[in-house]
């Protein structure tokens, strides 16, 4: 039992930190432009695909460096020539634009790379078990994923709170006009933040691609979960996003690892139903079965009882 618990925690952490890499960029973009970027997970997918293509010729590590840069530049271009144009039509138009962009990127990926899964591999260098516990191996690559995520979190935190550029960004978020009056180019800052946010998603894609398989549906699988995290954590709150990411990562991992379900609850209550009961599906429900929908349940509950999210300040 203990081994399952320990590994479930580790798995939850890996997923949670990966989700955070996406959520951090998304929440940053939200606090800046007030719009949730539906296409954020699509940049994650692009990261994986670019890295795959680069790695075919120059190896994994080159991909790790260049793919996020390409994705970041793409993101900046989308902000400059797409979002900024749509901005004048209001938030709904922006949201719908990013929704359409997500749709288009998925189709474009299928156009350029095809619909089948890609053989994107983790580097040989990290192809060994980091440690073995209770007969279970923990791959070094997963340790590497944790390392990268944490260092990005620290780096981001440092830049945003300690550096000059971070202070300008923070100021631009809350008082764009004042900052622009002080002689800073606010649209340029916005464009850069969007680009960096997309690049972060790209990094997540590069390191997740080999583990979670690189295929055209990878954005959809992760996309709505990242949304859920940003909303649960509180729109625009980096700390909230961090807590929500880890929470959801662990929640899903524990739910899968557990073996309990309605039958156990009914046993506990001393109730019994036969298999022909019209609600039989409900009485046989198990926790692992519903693990993937738990985040959405949490989302609806949070939005009903605390619309600002865990750490959010502002209401829309």
């Amino acid at each position: 039992m203990l081994d399952v618990f320990i590994f479930a925690t580790l798995n939850g952490l890996v997923t949670g930190l990966l989700l955070f890499m996406l959520a951090s960029g998304l929440t940053l973009i939200f606090s800046m432009m007030g719009v949730l970027n539906f296409a954020h997970a699509s940049f994650y997918m692009l990261g994986a695909y670019f890295a795959y293509s680069v790695s075919l010729y120059f190896g994994y590590w080159t991909g790790l460096i260049f793919a996020p840069i390409i994705v970041g530049v793409l993101g900046a271009l989308v902000e400059r020539y797409g979002l900024r144009r749509v901005h004048q039509h209001g938030h709904v138009a922006e949201l719908v634009f990013t929704f359409g962009l997500a749709f288009l990127i998925e189709e474009a990926v299928q156009f350029f790379w095809g619909a089948d899964t890609k053989n994107y591999q983790s580097p040989d260098l990290l192809d060994f078990p980091l440690f073995t516990l209770f007969g279970q191996e923990f791959p070094a690559y997963r340790g590497f994923m944790i390392g990268i995520s944490i260092s990005i979190f620290i780096g981001l935190y440092y830049v945003l709170t300690k550096s000059r550029i971070g202070i300008i960004i923070q100021a631009a978020l809350t008082h764009p006009h004042t900052v622009s009056n002080l002689g800073h180019n606010v649209p340029l800052i916005f464009m850069c933040v969007f680009g960096v946010g997309s690049a972060l998603a790209g990094v997540a894609g590069v390191i997740a691609g080999p583990v979670l398989t690189t295929f055209p549906g990878m954005a959809v699988v992760l996309g709505s979960i990242v949304f859920v995290i940003v909303v649960i954590g509180g729109l625009g709150s980096l700390a909230g996003a961090f807590i929500a990411s880890i929470l959801i990562g662990l929640l899903q991992s524990y739910a899968i690892a557990s073996d309990v379900g309605m039958p156990d609850l009914l046993n506990l209550l001393g109730l019994e139903f036969d298999r022909n009961h019209p609600l039989t599906d409900l009485w046989t429900l198990t926790l692992p079965q519903i693990a993937p929908i738990l985040p959405f349940l949490l989302l609806v509950l949070v939005l009903i009882f605390r619309p600002t999210g865990l750490m959010g300040k502002r209401e829309q």
Binding site: F99, E107, S224, T280, D281, L303, Q316
Partner: protein, 414 residues
């Protein structure tokens, strides 16, 4: 006079719906018309929510799907004679369930519009789509549930064997639904929905609860989505999980937006365009989804009020009798634009094909020869340059035709 004019529009609408199968009567055409009829009701109901009430929903298919599922279950009940009524009332069953679901979900989702509403709708949509695969006894798992519309009492001798018969039934329901949805826009509740969309605070100040107004609009939208679901059940005689999942919700958003939000006819235009693309374009190119995505993005960027909005932009010029002065500049820009579009699509198709030879607009191209690519690229480039040259002319002509600087009243709706 005004009433006469208005009723002429409605009679024309009904006549057009009824006449369609007279011109195209193949099995395929009728099945496309049926699809359109369903999409029109669903799209109008979505427009009620977003265009009229300002609530962006990523889960509107929930009401459509629930209505459809209950409608199929009703068909099954008719089959085993638990209940006994003519299947012409099935869309009402769907509508009733759509309404019930909206009555319940609306209690907590309509507190706020904007992002909060959008997120709740997304969450509920995902929850229900996932549950539909878990609760197999009601939703039938991924295979769905399937019924048969030919049981139950015949309606004036019609036993609903053919899809054409269903089409005429659908027309009746589409017409009724359209009339009621139009009337809703004219009621105080409908007008207030617009007010709440544009400025909830002011609406509150004059004594209306923004939330209550949203709730009413939300429920009405749920009702009509359910009616559309009932029509779906009658046409296809089965329904599956995919009819209430995020993809269906996304598609109705796409179609309403491309058609034109805020205009009553917008979703009708969108439903027609999207159905045609889905059923015809998809047979000529397997990249049609890519084109749909590009078209959608271009619409959001350049035609924020959709195709209907584009047509309505010409209202002023029309009224002022200056529409003719736009004709030549439109042609000057339009022809190269069309050429540009054709050549870009040609390039995409040529680079995508895995056959050596591509027939495109009656010409044969070789997908392995660089020369053919360059040739099409030159055409594309040439037409692009020509567009750039003629565009200022069009802009000048446009401004001349709409002399008042603010051109069309941007806020005009319905």
């Amino acid at each position: 006079m005004a009433i006469l004019k208005k009723s002429a529009v409605w009679i024309g609408y009904l006549a057009a719906l009824l006449a369609l199968p007279q011109f195209f009567d193949s099995v395929l055409a009728v099945s496309i018309f049926n699809q359109m009829a369903i999409a029109i009701v669903f799209g109008l109901s979505y427009n009620m929510l977003l265009g009229q009430g300002g609530m962006l929903s990523f889960g509107h298919a929930v009401y459509f799907g629930l209505g459809g599922f209950l409608a199929v279950h009703a068909l099954l009940m008719i089959e085993v004679e638990t209940v006994y009524f003519s299947i012409i009332w099935i869309p009402l069953v769907g509508g009733f369930i759509g309404l019930l679901a909206a009555l319940f979900i609306g209690t907590f989702s309509t507190h706020k519009a904007g992002t909060v509403f959008a997120m709740i709708s997304l969450g509920i949509g995902e929850l229900l789509a996932a549950s539909s695969l878990i609760f197999v006894s009601f939703f039938g798992g991924e295979a769905g549930v399937s019924g048969d519309r030919t049981f139950g009492p015949p309606f004036f001798g019609i036993e609903w064997f053919q899809n054409l018969e269903i089409y005429y039934l659908a027309v009746a329901w589409v017409f009724i639904a359209t009339v009621f949805m139009y009337l809703f826009t004219q009621t105080p509740a409908g007008k207030m929905a617009n007010a709440v969309r544009d400025n909830p605070e002011r609406a509150e100040f004059i004594g209306y609860s923004a939330r209550k107004v949203r709730y009413i609009t939300f429920c009405a939208a749920g009702l009509f989505a359910g009616v559309a679901g009932g029509l779906f059940a009658l046409n296809y005689e089965f329904i599956t999980e995919e009819n209430l999942n995020a993809a269906t919700s996304g598609r109705v958003l796409l179609s309403a937006y491309i058609g034109g939000l805020g205009y009553f006819i917008g979703p009708i235009v969108g439903a027609v365009i999207l159905t045609l693309m889905n059923s015809l374009l998809s047979n000529y190119s397997d990249l049609w989804m890519l084109y749909l995505g590009i078209m959608f993005l271009l619409t959001v960027m350049f035609l924020p009020r959709g195709f209907a909005g584009f047509i309505m932009m010409h209202q002023l010029a029309w009224v002022r009798g200056k529409i003719k002065s736009l004709l030549v500049p439109y042609l000057l820009t339009g022809i190269p634009s069309l050429l540009f579009l054709i050549s870009v699509v040609g390039l995409i198709e040529l680079s995508h094909t895995d056959e050596a030879e591509l027939y495109y607009f009656g010409l044969s191209f070789n997908s392995t020869a660089a020369m053919d690519f360059i040739l099409i690229a030159i055409v594309a480039l040439g037409s692009l340059l020509s567009i750039r040259r003629s565009l200022p002319q069009l802009r000048a002509a446009w401004e001349a035709a709409n002399e008042i600087p603010e051109s069309v009243d941007e806020e005009s709706t319905s």
